[in-house]
Amino acid sequence: MRQFWNLAKLTIWISLILALTGCWDKKELDQKAYVIGIGLDPHEQEGKIKVTYLIANPEVGSQQTGGGTQEAPQEIITLIADDFITSRNTANTVISKEISYDLLRLIMVSESLAKKPDFIRWIYSAAKDREIKRSTELLVTKESAQKFISNNKPKLETRPHKFFEFMIGRGKETGLIPDTDLNDFFRIAETDSDLFLAIYATTEKENGNHNLSDDNFMAGEIHIEGQTNDAQFIGSAVFKEGIMIGKITGEETRISSLLDPTLYLQDFKTTFQDPFNERYRLSVRFSKIRNNVYKFKQQSGRTIIDIKVPLFIEILTDPSMINYAKNKKKVDELKESMTVKIEENLNKFIKKTQEELKGDTFHLSIPVRREFGTLKEFRDYDWMKSYPDAEINVSVDIRFGEFGRQTKLPEMREVRD
């Protein structure tokens, strides 16, 4: 009897241990094809979309195999499907492994699809799918997503997952592309009080107008020579209620981030008109390490918002050879002229959002919400409608950090003597 019990116990234990492996969901790494990016394009036929898969080869560049594989780092396929959920099985007619979205990093959408009112229907599949994470990036391409993926050939970082991770991560640090993801897209579309910014990129080069200042570019407008990748990531696509309504340049994206209460900024390098010699431009590094201060008032039906933006600025160059270290008065003058210039730029951008886009791109609804007791009052106030008529006053509070590695420069006259 005792032996029988022991045997019964053993059987139960073994069956429980076998259950732990999760047999049905067990998948070896090499049985899966990892999709890093999905490209979505419109298709002529109603209700269909073109889905492009960018599939990474996990063998390339991994330490275990010593990086010694002859296979290509990535594989690209395009197919026409009803949505990007069922297309996984259709893709298996050419791909031998199971398509997995576990490592999906970005969804690329062509501008023409993003501008369709139906776009939101397609993209909401991402919220329903079990493998797609809400932290996936959303990227809008100028050309078709299919073309963007096939033209994007990074020279040094050939592994696609690493390339996009670094490219987008660094772009967010420099502020030339917006710091948003799919979760923000859904959130902003559902709350319906701000505008959403998606990353804008292209591989198509545009000719002409190379004489603009440093960052006032859209993707494709920057003239870069040499042998490198064609893809440029700069600027943002603006979405209102889930439909793309316009785009803003890299500089405007940075301004939007400066005004945004949810973001801190680290490393913005840009140039300013040198106040002491108008032939030159001054290089500076911006950071916003403290929170903006927002003041909200309602006066006779009109909304007035005062925004105070604290900035920490480091002056990196001194082309007019002013020698700031010895010249307190010039530092004050510089501060004065920069404050005026920055405020002017911020005001220009706010005006653009009020008149052209008719909505704010920088989460201004969040400080506004604070002023209301209940959601009902806030909804009746209707921020999206009130914003274009609101009066927004921006003031900038600049604090200078260092003036380059060495603060002193020789006198121009002495050098040329």
Partner: protein
Amino acid sequence: MKQNKGKIGIKEYIAIIALTIGTKLSDDTPSIIYEDARNAGWISVLLIGAMAFIPILLLIKVFSAHKDKNLHEVFIYLFGKILGNLISILILIIGVAALTVDSGIYVDIIGTMYFTTTPSLIIYGVLMIVCAYGAKRGIEQIGSVSWLLLPYLKITLFVALFFSLKEGHTGFIFPLWGESRLEVVKAAGKNVSIFVDFLLIGLIAPLVSSFKDYKKGTLIGLGMVTAEISLATAAFVMLFDYTTAEMLSYPFHETIRYIQIGFLANVETLFFPFWLVATFIRFSFYLYLSAVMLGGILKIKEFEYLIPLITLIVIFLGIAPDSPSILLYTMRQTILMILSPAFMFLPPLMWLIAKIRGDFKNETVLESS
């Protein structure tokens, strides 16, 4: 320390409360609260805690006069044999229904979020068999396992909440009063029964080493789980904003899929096992409670042998529904709504009868003599 056989100390008791009720923040309880209270869900939870304080206090008062009786025996004593048994049977039916719905939801979470191709019968079977084994080991074992694992489970939970607070924006909890003040109160009133477990835990009241420990443990436990669930509901809103948080079926699981810890991107696999262990303990305890109740009603001394029976009933009822994620959600809402008034009125009623019968007088006489 007293080493009474079959009894648990205050540590184990608090750990059981923290794991069984605290785990509710990780299922669809937050979504149910958000439905009325919107972004002020955290205030609703605090209100629920305050509201639940009254019946729990009265319950403790009743138990103070009946220190060696469990909930069922107190029912029999206060309401008489027929009515007492009837109330016990009703509570047992609702309890098993709640256990079925809850376990169904947990199986749905595991099935939709993690093991997508495994049939739900297998998930259900494995989950419940493990829980039945845990329940069979008795309250002492459940208690010590809870106490042993409590730090790990709570530390991982707070790491998850910390990172979601870090990635979220505090601005989203405004406007402070959600939809309106009335809605916040309504959400609290409708869902006060998320703490109905405190009533059921009365079944093990005599098993806590002393009455003082039971009283202290219950109150500390109540404070702990209120704070914990309130913090979690606020954290989910800060991460997703109210419109999205309301739409998510299981906000906790979306959170652990969304957050990044430093350079680690797919961290849900780190949190999932800990959550699973908490789930095992939770359902083991519920199975144990149901068995105690059924044993009490049927006058079965060795009630542990009822556990396999209840487990099977739960499994078969649990896998029956069609489109479980929708049906179970509405059923859970209904159960919470039915239980709320019951939870608010039963303990005061018990207290009133005890008062009329003069139970408390005896106690004071005993104490003074």
